[in-house]
């Protein structure tokens, strides 16, 4: 953490960046996103095992962009997100300084190739509770799995915190808000919730970097990230797409190759 404070102090003092997006002390022992704009505040940054939220979600927020050039404290999944954002032309290369953190290490990544090297050498490690959830669900029969999701999705009241927390859900007008035609039924009943989450999973297939931010954000406690993680697993094992490791990758949903398998349609 000392190294992080030092680095951020330097970046702000030298004028290399005007704002650092990082984690700070929150309420009730939680961490929270903070936006450090002066070297004197660098010590307000924290980095420990409470810091799960994917801060890449703030990079393109207009209020933050207005502040000038930014640096961001990024865990391995956030690094992958940034790589994926560059691949999807949501971020130009070199636009942001990435302070990649994992355990006690800190690396400053400023160009595409260093981001890619870092992303490729730092796989996203799920928190233990996510690993357990994935295993539990894999052990269910198809009917049981359907019932599991029915019960989970019944809790969803469509607050869209999962979408808002996801840096890769950046569409200005999400499919749920398009009304000509109305693709997704708006009320949060069984059908509306099912349509919403299936659409979201499809849109994130091969793009979701498995950061888990959506699950953490969901106030209803739905392990909603499992759907996009699964969609991405299919994209990886069936089509060879690994999101967030190459700054000029094409996307799984918009590329078609003759040798693509169709076995995932079940």
């Amino acid at each position: 953490m000392q190294a992080l404070h030092q680095k951020v102090k330097e970046l702000l003092e030298s004028g290399k960046v005007q704002v650092v997006i990082g984690y700070g002390e929150g309420s009730g022992g939680k961490s929270r996103p903070v936006f450090i704009r002066s070297a004197a505040d660098a010590a307000k940054l924290v980095w420990d095992d409470r810091c799960h939220q994917n801060l890449a979600v703030y990079i393109n927020k207009p209020e933050i962009k207005k502040m000038g050039k930014a640096a961001i404290v990024a865990h391995p999944a956030a690094v992958r997100t940034i790589v994926q954002m560059i691949a999807e032309h949501q971020l130009s290369s070199g636009a942001i300084i990435v302070l990649a953190v994992e355990n006690d290490t800190l690396e400053e990544l400023t160009d595409n190739s260093s981001l890619e090297v870092y992303a490729q050498s730092h796989p996203v490690l799920f928190p233990p509770f996510v690993v357990k959830e994935i295993e539990d669900i894999a052990a269910l029969s198809a009917a049981e799995r359907f019932e599991f999701w029915q019960n989970e999705l019944e809790k969803c009241f469509k607050c869209y915190a999962c979408r808002a927390a996801c840096p890769l859900c950046y569409c200005e007008r999400c499919i749920v808000e398009c009304n000509q035609p109305q693709w997704v039924s708006v009320p949060s009943h069984a059908q509306g919730n099912f349509e919403w989450h299936m659409n979201r999973a499809m849109h994130l297939a091969g793009r979701c970097v498995s950061c888990g931010s959506c699950t953490i954000a969901c106030p209803a406690g739905i392990p909603i990230g499992l759907l996009t993680i699964e969609a991405s697993r299919i994209a990886r094992t069936e089509f060879g797409f690994e999101p967030g490791i190459s700054c000029d990758a094409s996307s799984a949903m918009s590329s078609f190759r003759n040798e693509d398998k169709e076995t995932f349609i079940q």
Binding site: G26, S27, G28, K30, S31, R32, P33, V34, F35, Q53, V57, Y58, K61, P62, E63, I64, N151, E152, K155, F157, K158, C159, Y160, A161, R163, A164, A165, R173, E177, Q182, S185, V186, P187, S188, H189, G192, S213, I216, A217, P219, A220, G221, I222
Partner: protein, 338 residues
């Protein structure tokens, strides 16, 4: 005064369900506690500080048809769901802040042009609340006009006392009708001082002071800094017992369907977007300001009604730790009086 044992309370609720009333009670789903209709009382939980979703759904459900329609050639047949008498409901386990919120919510929908759907449900609702013997750091009911043992809005208020029982305050005619019919389940105890059992919630700010300061704070720079980490989801509004905003949407086919109202939130970027592309609230800071202003300035100015009861749900639900109590303390401390 009256009291009831834990076992008799479960019997009372089960009896109400058997009579055909829909009994909403707190149940655990995964890690979180929700209000849900229960037939038997086995899943009902008591060990929560606050539920995740508020009980507003008993008056103002997540979604509901406002009308339904069917085309018959060139003609259209419209059905009005408010014509049917609403089911008798019992809400159990609401906190005093929740009961106050339901009362204010019903008043809001009844103001000027009454909303018959909400009023009908309110008439058919009996509220059996539970005083708070525990609170957490996110609670601030005492700053918004409620308190851990407040009776406002409840028909019966139970306060946990010694020996696994509850002191029962029968507060309204609706409450009395239940207590009278099931009088064998209650016993008489000498008057108690319930304060000794209640949680202590320190007053964090004065809502009158906040209201005064907000009345000239629209252009204050406090909003910019305060809202930077808000990601504009609907979590705070959807868990809030007092947020009343809704969207109206069509469901079904082009021939037959219904017009449905669903919860909405002023935090969403599209909430105020015109078809032309113009948006009066372009930035999240403007939307966050609307949230605070609506609850603590606009509603109090317009109707002497604070749009928040301090239940703390929004702070617990917020993925970005916006913490409303802290924000209001900040306003009380840092916005100047003129």
């Amino acid at each position: 005064m009256k009291s009831i044992t834990h076992d008799n309370l479960l019997k009372l609720l089960a009896g109400l369900a058997d009579e055909g009333k829909i009994v909403y009670a707190p149940v655990r789903k995964g890690q979180k506690v929700f209000f849900a209709p229960v037939q038997n009382m086995q899943p009902v939980v008591f060990d929560y500080i606050q539920t995740t979703e508020s009980p507003k759904l008993v008056l103002f459900p997540r979604y509901e048809p406002l009308i339904s329609f069917e085309y018959q050639g060139k003609e259209v047949k419209v059905d009005d769901p408010s014509a049917a008498a609403p089911a008798e409901r019992v809400l159990f386990g609401s906190r005093p802040c929740d009961a106050m919120a339901l009362k204010r919510l019903a008043e809001f929908f009844d103001r000027d042009i009454p909303d018959a759907l909400i009023a009908g449900r309110q008439k058919a609702l009996t509220v059996i609340s539970m005083s708070c013997i525990k609170a957490d750091a996110d609670c601030f009911c005492t700053s918004t006009g409620s308190s851990p043992g407040d009776i406002c809005g409840s028909d019966i208020l139970l306060t946990p006392v010694e020996n696994n029982g509850y002191a029962a305050e029968i507060l309204t005619g609706k409450g009395a009708s239940i207590a009278d019919r099931c009088s064998s389940l209650f016993s008489e105890i000498p008057e108690i001082r319930k304060e000794q059992y209640l949680a202590k919630v320190e007053k964090a700010f004065s809502h009158e002071e906040v209201r005064k300061k907000l009345s000239h704070a629209f252009d204050h720079d406090i909003w910019n800094g305060a809202s930077l980490r808000c990601i504009g989801c609907g979590a705070c509004a959807f868990v809030c017992p007092m947020c009343s905003c809704f969207d109206i949407q069509e469901e079904g086919t082009a021939k037959k369907g219904s017009r449905v109202r669903c919860w909405d939130s002023c935090g969403f970027s599209l909430f105020t977007l015109h078809t032309s592309g113009h948006n009066p609230r372009h930035n999240q800071s403007e939307r966050w300001r609307q949230r605070v202003m609506h609850k603590f300035s606009y509603q109090p100015e317009a109707a002497e009604l604070t749009g928040c009861v301090g239940c703390g749900r929004c702070s617990r639900a917020c993925p970005s730790d916006m913490n409303l109590k802290e924000q209001l303390q900040d306003i009380a401390a840092n916005v100047e009086t003129v």
